[in-house]
Amino acid sequence: MNSLLRSKPKSTVKKVFATVLFVLACFLSLQFFFPNVLTSTVLFIAKPVWMFRDATVSSSSSFFGLFSHSSTLRKENEKLRDELYALRVREVEFNQMQTEYMDLKTFLGDSASTSVKSFNTLARVLSKPPFTPYDSFVVDKGTLAGVSIGNLVYANEGLVIGRVTKVTSNASFVTLFSSGGEAQEFLVSRTGVSLSVTGKGGGNFEIYVPKDFDIKVGDSLTEPSYDVGIVAEVYAVDETSQNSFKRVYARVPKAIFRSKSVLIGI
């Protein structure tokens, strides 16, 4: 009786193992023979569900916002007005600098058309962290809108956040530069020196450089292929280690995971 009880699981373990292998083989062959069809189908189902989720979340937050205390609302209003004023000032400065920059570009002989990024596509973010496990976005524009693999993705004009890594006809997958383990070459905008930056997830980056390397808090890191477009900003430099290297921490200067839309440079 005892031996019967013991022998039973061994045979079923083999059966389960075989079943798991069979199911895995089925899925992998499906993936191999129809890679884009499956992704498109899954996204076709997911798109309306994600839109419904976003609509529900935004309407429920505005509903609960009705119950906020009036003094809290007044304070928030004042804070937003201050922010708006500061942003207007910055916008004026930015426009002035942009004009000067374009004049300089023309003067130096570089064609103005090559320096201006063409944001042909504004895409809506369908899924983003924490719903996705990686630092990645799913956006609602695909090959039909002219998006292709390798296109740069911007959170706004001047903030590059990642690249398109997979495209279907109506959606694209964007892998952010800050994705865990992603190593990229960026430039320190102040000095123009190139360095290897590793993504750490959550919009964060880590850099190992020699202790005498010229980098400080507040420095901007830019994408080398584009002369405009900040990727990250240095917020801490750790020089306490015993070896000859220092650890530099950078992060995206915007809450990118709150973005509802992105620009795709085609």
């Binding site: 009880l5 013991r6 699981p9 079923t12 373990v13 389960v16 193992f17 079943t19 798991v20 292998l21 199911v23 895995l24 899925f27 992998l28 993936q31 499956l38 992704t39 899954v42 996204l43 997911a46 569900v49 994600w50 989720r53 899924s127 924490p130 719903f131 996705t132 496990p133 990686y134 990645s136 799913v138 890594t165 997979k166 997958f173 892998t175 994705s179």
Partner: protein
Amino acid sequence: MDTDIQLRLLFFVSLLLSFFLLPWWVSVPAVLAYCIYYTPAVEVIAFGFLADNLYGVSYIYTYIASAVCFLVYFIKSHIRT
């Protein structure tokens, strides 16, 4: 239909919806719980496959789900004996 099968089906559909509507750190432990409760839960591989197609960065969840499905069954059967 048997109540247990109905419950399993309900749990399965809830998990499927959770992949679309909830953060991954809610869905993944829920799938693990499903896998432990209903061994052998081969349908878990479908969730891995779904996650890979939904988030599309690298195909890893299908393999992880297969391994977890088998390992959970293997461990549970050995604990029983």
